[in-house]
Symmetry: D2
Subunit: 167 residues, 4 copies
């Protein structure tokens, strides 16, 4: 039996300007970490490049969310793990888990985007690029992780190194 791999990891060092006066990372930066983790995921998955704003296809975020468990501080190395949770005809949803070097969960979140033309009119992912749609579909982790995205389920999933996609 083959275990499917689902999540990628990006190491990030917390920058001085990202920390607030409580000496913890300001919440808005976790969304940036989540985004650069998602971009790393897409680099590793290797899509065709057709779904790019350089080709007139925008990928606006439709919603994002973050839950904070333990703060990160200046100069700390953190590990941003991302998996594609679910893709439909019009939306892609990713989940994230952000860890410190001791494998403690610092934050976990979700980010969804659609694709549109340059006038922000939504497009079908399937029709715009079937090849990429199918590649993303086969990397969905929803069947492995289930519908109930609790902290414990997300944490177990991202701690399971068998699911890790090596670069």
């Amino acid at each position: 039996m083959v275990i499917k791999m689902y999540w990628t990891e990006l190491k990030v060092k917390v920058r001085y300007n990202e920390v607030d006066r409580m000496n913890v990372v300001h919440n808005s930066n976790y969304f940036i970490y989540q985004e650069i983790g998602k971009n790393e995921y897409l680099d590793i998955i290797k899509l065709s490049g057709k779904l790019s704003d350089e080709n007139g296809i925008f990928s606006p975020i439709t919603s994002n969310t973050m839950n904070y468990v333990k703060p990160a501080t200046f100069d700390e190395d953190i590990f941003v793990r991302i998996a594609l949770y679910k893709i439909t005809g019009v939306q892609i949803t990713y989940i994230s888990g952000i860890y410190n070097k001791d494998e403690e969960l610092l934050a976990y979140g979700k980010i969804s985007n659609c694709i549109t033309d340059t006038n922000m009119k939504p497009l079908s992912i399937k029709k715009t690029c079937l090849e990429d749609y199918e590649k993303l579909k086969e990397n969905e982790c929803i069947s492995a992780i289930g519908n109930n995205l609790t902290k414990k389920i997300i944490d177990d999933f991202f701690k399971n190194k068998k699911y890790m996609i090596k670069k």
Copy 2:
């Protein structure tokens, strides 16, 4: 019958550095708008000042979320509306609606925080400052808006000028 007032409004002009290469506000900035709107709300409500990191009381965010409806662009005036949704012994949750000058909903979200000591140990809001707890409690909008926070319900609520707290 007196109609209670619930939400405050802060006008913000979109800065050049907040816009991405699709010429729309980058998602991380909506969390900053939500936060400065929340701080404006707290200024207007006028708490005692005891729940402040200057007094050793931190207010870390426990979760935040944003849903994007229509993009804002450079130099646009946007209007950040915030109401206190619900306060429990340990957590305060606010809802937000971000509008353009034509009263179109651009984004709506939620932000929750707890209070802690300087070691990030959670504290009871009620026990730490009963006076502020009671003031916040009486400004809760959950009884007016209900449990089901759909886009339509949030939009109707923040469009209702009778609910607006004038500065």
Copy 3:
């Protein structure tokens, strides 16, 4: 004798995320304040709108600098004052002074930009839009302030309310 007016002022409230763990505004934000002050200046001066990236004319920054005198802190109102220092055929230079509500100088700086086509090839401002060039030229403050931009000279200049352009 008529005294020419040179500088505009933009009031900005320091945001929570702009402050670092020393509880002072992180230096990178002063460049953002300087930029939004410059954009306010250009709004007030009212150019033709031809020198805009919407018309394929980019205005990349060629250099910027900031000197820090006294730190600003969270929630403080600060006042960003900007004057056009000098315009040549290929470059526009502005100077800035950032003040607190007690008219104390917090920081002062300089920002220069050129104009280019969409391929970042420099263009002559004069040839691209003579009308705007002339308007900017006539607002130059170099003849009033001189060549030697010391802290004292800049501070005296921006404290002189006779030079202030009212919105």
Copy 4:
């Protein structure tokens, strides 16, 4: 004859949120790159740790400046090179050169800081920590690079790999 090594290098990938609507890195981010490059330099030089805000010693920036030669774009790898230019009793000045993977100079700048107590009162670096002062002094590059910091001189200096401090 031994050639002294002066500069350190930090590789940074340009983040999506750092790019503006001209698809080039917004100028304020170069100051962040310069700062994280400086922190990397200090990590490599290995000071005693006494000059840290954790010990009540602040290191506020007194001035910083950046000159822009060629824009960086989204997802590009850039290389932030930093050397200690000069240390006096009260101020430390670093110079920076930011390069793309083809060894083209994108930007170069300067950053100075003093050290203060927690009330922002300036302290003597020499008296506060002689050991660190001496270590920094011996890493000064001013004797190698000279007083005249032109673009060409800075570019030649940071292109000379013999001067590079390996991590």
